[in-house]
Subunit: 430 residues, 2 copies
């Protein structure tokens, strides 16, 4: 790389635009740290005239990002469009094939095509860096690849989505319903105004889990079927009951090696209010790793937003500018192995079950008999009558049981006239 480094910036949304400004104001500092001078030689976005927080230089604007390659000599391309396929994939693929280093915060792209793209990068001996794709400003990928390199990990889990964590925290603090708090989150820019689904249903967190697993366990990005649940069905009522039990609901992403098999999941968990993870609130993200010989390590920080994301993008930029050619996943693609999936059916947890029932004799025993039939033993029962409506709420905390057992035992409650709705199930984190 020369003393001058030519950068192309593709995608000028919230993140791309913030980064554009950061690059301009930090030129001098980057020069001090790397001895090289950066030049933004091309920018591209859908809409040239959209109102942006920071003014862009329209002289270097490209409507079609693929044209950049024809006109300019690019050293580093930063992709922040954010699609898992389409133009995002096309532009990254093309850049790598042309021996151009790529930086991207695009978790959807990496979770889906990371293996393929890293092979191109390795073949062409350029970098593909994606620190910002997981947990925003927290440098978790570099920590696994470098700071904790040679540790043997058995588990990595945490709060990987700031939107859902904000919603859960806010529901508990304000006693407002999911819908109300979601609206607030959208107003504050924490949730997508149009379609917040990918945050809420766990998909966003799950893409991050896939990337984390690949790094922590040196396997190829898995395509296994998985257990993915979001927070769409979390009711204020469950948050309140949890609170009385000194528990709190958190959407956790978990990746774990069980019997040499990989288990990846995202689902709401009940955690102790006294636990560390139970106190990571609002838009904060946190990741906990269990490694040998390092022991338990925790990283916490702001998981989203243009500031933290730019912090990680710039960190990738410096890595590349220092001339280090890293393997995208920390080791050669052909050394990364496929790993067998742990069978979801055998995933085992204590469960929180909430039944809404008619307040009639025999209903409780119907439930407890059914659980007993599947050897699900009960740790705690709280029955709260609603006399006026002749109803009751029964909350049961079970001892550990498998997914398959839980599913089978609860199935029957779909059509029982005394069970007013299908029971709510939330797993306890253990």
């Amino acid at each position: 790389m020369n003393k001058f480094v030519n950068i192309a910036l593709v995608g000028l949304g919230q993140i791309g635009n913030y980064l554009y400004n950061e690059l301009n104001i930090k030129k001098k500092e980057i020069e001090i740290k790397t001895g090289k001078h950066i030049r933004i030689v091309a920018i591209s976005a859908k809409n040239r005239n959209k109102k942006r927080r920071f003014k862009i230089n329209k002289k270097i604007f490209y409507q079609n990002p693929l044209n950049i390659f024809k006109d300019k000599k690019i050293d580093i391309l930063i992709e922040s469009i954010g699609l898992s396929d389409g133009i995002s994939k096309k532009i990254v693929e093309t850049a790598l094939k042309k021996k151009i280093n790529v930086i991207t915060p695009n978790k959807a792209l990496i979770a889906k095509h990371g293996d393929y793209l890293s092979q191109i990068a390795e073949k062409k001996n350029v970098c593909l860096e994606f620190e910002a794709s997981v947990a925003g400003g927290i440098p978790i990928l570099k920590t696994i690849k470098e700071g904790l390199a040679t540790n043997r990990f058995k588990k990595i889990y945490g709060i990987l989505n700031g939107t859902t964590n904000y919603i859960l925290t806010e529901m508990e603090n304000t006693n407002e319903t999911f819908d109300k708090v979601l609206q607030k989150a959208q107003k504050l820019g924490y949730a997508e105004p149009g379609n917040p689904k990918l945050d809420l249903n766990g998909f966003d967190a799950f893409a991050k889990v896939r990337i984390l697993s690949a790094l922590a366990f040196n396997n190829r990005i898995s395509k296994h079927k998985c257990l993915m649940e979001g927070i769409q069905n979390i009711d204020l009522k469950d948050i309140k009951i949890a609170s009385q039990l000194n528990l709190r609901i958190k959407l956790l992403g978990i990746s774990e090696i069980i019997n040499n098999q990989l288990f990846e999941t995202v689902h709401p968990c009940l955690v102790s209010k006294k636990s560390y993870i139970g106190n990571v609130n609002g838009v904060m993200n946190a990741i906990i790793m269990q490694g040998k010989p390092v022991g338990e390590s925790i990283l916490q920080g702001e998981g989203a937003g243009p500031g933290p994301t730019s912090s990680s993008l710039l960190s990738d930029l410096l890595t590349i500018m220092k001339g280090n050619i890293n393997k995208p996943f920390g080791l050669s693609s052909h050394k990364r192995k496929a790993i067998k999936a742990f069978d979801i059916k055998n995933y085992s947890n204590s469960l929180y079950l909430r039944f809404e029932v008619k307040d009639k004799p025999g209903v409780l025993s119907l439930i407890t008999n059914r659980l007993a039939k599947f050897k699900i033993s009960i740790k705690r029962i709280i029955q709260t009558p609603d006399k006026k409506n002749n109803k009751a709420t029964i909350v049961i905390i079970t001892h550990k049981t498998t997914e398959i057992n839980a599913k089978k035992s609860l199935n029957i409650f779909r059509k029982n006239k005394n069970i007013l709705k299908f029971p709510i199930l939330i797993r306890l984190y253990n």
Copy 2:
């Protein structure tokens, strides 16, 4: 560097010996990740025949580490003797001058001679890595240098010494005195059996603060006079009173830019039991950074012991083996500037003051008048009489005041017959 990497290991105490074993069992994995094969070609320690946890190969043993250079071609030298000067300095200096990369967990050496040694490393174009010198297994230095590179930090603080944190936690949990708990810590290997002074008096944490500042603020390691207090004088009584006030005592290391001046300190702090830092217990370390644009970031992990320390040493090894030549402090020595010191006298905090007094009329007003004279206003007073002995304990929580004011106002209590001992002062963390 060749396909074979020759390693010399100098110092075979707890850490060196554990690392020796790790290197042997992780050879294969290191080869997969770096494409290079390591060979331990020389080891050295004071005592060849000392009983060690892992067996060493005596054929490559050197009594005098300086002789290694004569006999062997070394690529990387790992120093884990631990002295701030003497043979530790000599061996590192010699290695660097001979263009040999150096890895060390030796915070005393780096805090004292880091600037000088890094200049040699840069001149000779080799690496001097010292990730393990701060916070054991937590990759905090790489995080500042790389993961959060280009962030502007204004403050970095945390629990940097596991020994003292264990003692404080254990005193609170067991109601045992400082001396009793210290003995327990020594038995468990958390405190030096012979001379635990450097942990207890804050010196160990302070060396780490100096290193952290240099990295976070890009300045040369400061030599300023500083405020350094350990936990030697923490009484069980203060821990109990703090607990009643929902506070907890933690030994914090703090480095901060105030009015463009550097302030570095280590002293016990009263923190809220509800705060994050108030819940980092036992031998855990934690570091909190406030940076722009990343926001607040937290790293937590095991701060000491051979396992976590080896994790960081191996991470340094991989960095070097991947062929990256990094500046030891993240940028050229000649670009790192001296930074003016913030005057300790103006350091300002709320204070916890505990007076042991004779239970006589006029004593409280003596104290409050004295504080008022120095414009120290009082937030809270708790007076607990000890009728039997005709004594009383007066605890005062003040509003913010400066060090100089506090010192001047308390001075008078050295010789007053109604004040039974010089008051205890603990700063509240704000």
